[in-house]
């Protein structure tokens, strides 16, 4: 037994590790390195917000409204005299939290639905697929706006809204993947020796369809950050006075004659962070599926 194992390991080249493939693509392009640096900075700023922010993001002062950028207030102050930079630093927390939690919870729910539909088939599949197909016809932003219109804003509602907006995409991928491996010999073998269905799903199917799900999750971190910003800008996301990059722009637009700096600061931050996550997402996708890179 051991001799067979040794021979085969000599004949077959070692499989390239996934981590190494990702590393190779990520650090092979200058743009991606910059993106990783931006994301690292975002994480540091979000975690250390109370230490880094020069002022309390909520403290107002009638004495210093609409100040232009200065040494005391690097990005000036808004119409309530709040320090824009401090609000942006605290706002980064929202972006990071929603950007990470929503794709993850959507992946959890969507994958479950997709695997159930693909594995059991029949009427369950028909119902789930029809609803998923219908929801996929809606752009995520529109779906999110429509659901937020009903639910209203606030922390948990934003998570629910973005999660629902992403669920159909995960469900479709998970269903397709499940269908393609359902009749693999190892699944049929498990069924024929009487392994219980939940064990088959979680031991034999889910681990084997994870790669595309993880890629999708990476790609949607950027979308989630954009969505949260858009919802907060529309007033149905993070609620005032809590800072979010989206509602900083909303406040800035209401005070457009006062100071353009909140808009410029928060807008640039969103753009850079979304760009960075997009680049890293693309890199991870290319690493896992070289055929997509052109």
């Amino acid at each position: 037994m051991s001799s067979i194992y040794e021979t085969s390991s000599q004949l077959l080249p070692p499989e390239p590790s996934l981590l190494r493939a990702i590393k190779g693509v990520m650090f092979g392009r200058p743009g991606t390195i910059a993106a990783v640096v931006i994301i690292a900075m975002l994480v540091i700023v979000a975690v250390l917000a109370p230490v880094l922010a020069p002022y309390d993001p909520l403290s107002q002062s009638m004495l210093k409204i609409n100040r232009p950028p200065s040494w005391a207030n690097w990005l000036g102050t808004d119409q309530f005299g709040r320090d824009v930079l401090s609000r942006m630093i605290y706002g980064s927390r929202n972006s990071l939290i929603f950007g990470l939690i929503s794709p993850f919870s959507a992946a959890l729910i969507g994958t479950t639905l997709g695997v159930i539909a693909g594995y059991f088939g029949g009427i369950i599949d028909r119902v789930i697929s029809r609803v998923v197909d219908l929801l996929l016809a809606f752009p995520e932003l529109l779906l999110a706006i429509m659901i937020a219109a009903v639910l209203g804003g606030g922390f948990w509602n934003v998570i629910i809204v973005i999660t629902i907006a992403f669920v159909p995409g995960f469900a479709r991928v998970a269903r397709a993947q499940t269908l393609s491996i359902k009749h693999e010999p190892y699944v049929e073998a498990a069924i024929s020796v009487g392994v219980r269905t939940p064990v088959i799903i979680f031991r034999h199917i889910v681990p084997n369809i994870m790669a595309p799900i993880v890629v999708l999750m990476m790609l949607w971190v950027a979308s989630a950050i954009r969505l949260e910003a858009s919802l907060s800008f529309l007033g149905i996301g993070t609620q005032a006075p809590n800072p979010s990059w989206g509602n900083i722009i909303k406040d800035g637009l209401n005070n457009i004659f006062g100071s353009p700096w909140p808009i410029i600061g928060a807008g640039t931050a969103i753009t850079l962070v979304v760009l960075a996550f997009n680049l890293v997402g693309d890199a991870v996708r290319d690493a896992l599926d070289p055929s997509t890179s052109q």
């Binding site: 809606f138 706006i145 529309l234 997009n278």
Partner: protein, 311 residues
């Protein structure tokens, strides 16, 4: 072809029904009492009871759903609780502005995006290609409401070339008012369409018939436009539908930025005022937009690809 058309139209009916069912479920069954949502936490029990009675919220759910579908079909979505105007009237007033914005933005996006895509595909891995790539990366990343705010500050507020709000009255002033908002949405569109055109054109240009055309000495220009672009149109049509829906979702924020009338602004203001009937109406309109645009795109396939016409 007429059979395909009929089939596609018939298929839209259950879709519309399902969309209405989902909207209904969202409005009635999701956590949160519509009466409290509409009147606020401070409302008295009598006010809440009166509201439920007036909106038919005490009826059994199936009856509420039938009344809701009937309302949509007979174009009666109730009255706004704020202004007491009919919801359908409000929608009809705002609808042209949103459609106008979406169409102008799409046209501008196509006019810029397709040539950019051709340029990138014909100069693959050279400077124009990298330029288009950077442009599309930025176009994907920049939030449209931020870009809109920048354009508003620069061209309307500081330079005074364009109006800072409103929708305009006659045709000329409406085009004048729609220019900056449409340009904002078109920027993102152009990035998307450019990338899509590049990808599908590159794919087509590697086909055998393109090599044949070149081998027999057809002019390169003619190869690109007649043999290449024509066949790259089909994937582009799919992208066009998606892009149009994305433009529509973007129009919500853009209408807020430029303070112009439209369905998005109607919906967002209704949410702020907790105007239940208008919120429901706005959601129905957006849902119908999605169904209709998908239908139109399927019909456009027939025009673009004769092969579908045959089967």
């Amino acid at each position: 072809m007429s059979r395909y058309l009929l089939f596609r139209l018939a298929d839209a009916v259950p879709t519309v029904f399902l969309v209405l069912l989902l909207v209904f479920i969202a409005m009635r069954i999701l956590p949160g009492d519509p009466a409290i949502a509409a009147l606020g936490d401070m409302a008295t029990a009598e006010q809440l009871a009166l509201f439920r009675e007036r909106m038919g919220l005490n009826d059994p759910l199936w009856l509420q759903f039938i009344m809701f579908v009937k309302g949509v079909l007979t174009l009666d979505l109730g009255n706004s609780m704020m202004s007491n105007q009919s919801v359908v009237g409000l929608i009809l007033y705002n609808l042209p502005y949103t459609i106008e914005l979406t169409i102008v933005a799409m046209l501008m996006g196509l006019a810029a995006g397709v040539p950019l895509g051709v340029l990138a595909a014909t100069h693959r891995n050279k400077l124009p290609d990298s330029g288009v790539r950077v442009f599309s990366l930025v176009g994907y990343a920049i939030p449209d409401f931020y870009l809109g705010a920048l354009l508003l500050i620069t061209f309307a507020l500081n330079l005074g070339w364009f109006p800072i709000n409103g929708g305009g009255t006659d045709f000329a002033s409406r085009m004048y008012h729609v220019f900056l908002p449409a340009l904002t949405l078109a920027f993102v569109k152009a990035a998307f369409i450019g990338r899509l055109t590049r990808t599908s054109l590159l794919e087509v240009l590697s086909k055998d018939y393109v090599r044949t055309a070149r081998a027999k000495g057809v002019q390169e220009r003619r190869v690109i436009y007649r043999h290449g672009l024509r066949n790259a149109l089909l994937p582009l049509t799919t992208g066009l539908g998606l892009s149009m829906l994305a433009t529509l979702s973007g129009s919500v924020a853009i209408e807020m930025v430029f303070n112009r009338p439209g369905i998005g602004k109607l919906l967002i203001n209704a949410i702020a005022e907790r105007d239940y009937a208008v919120i429901q109406g706005g959601i129905v309109v957006f849902a119908m937009f999605v169904v209709v645009i998908n239908l139109l795109m399927d019909l456009l396939y027939i025009v673009v690809d004769p092969r579908i016409r045959m089967n």
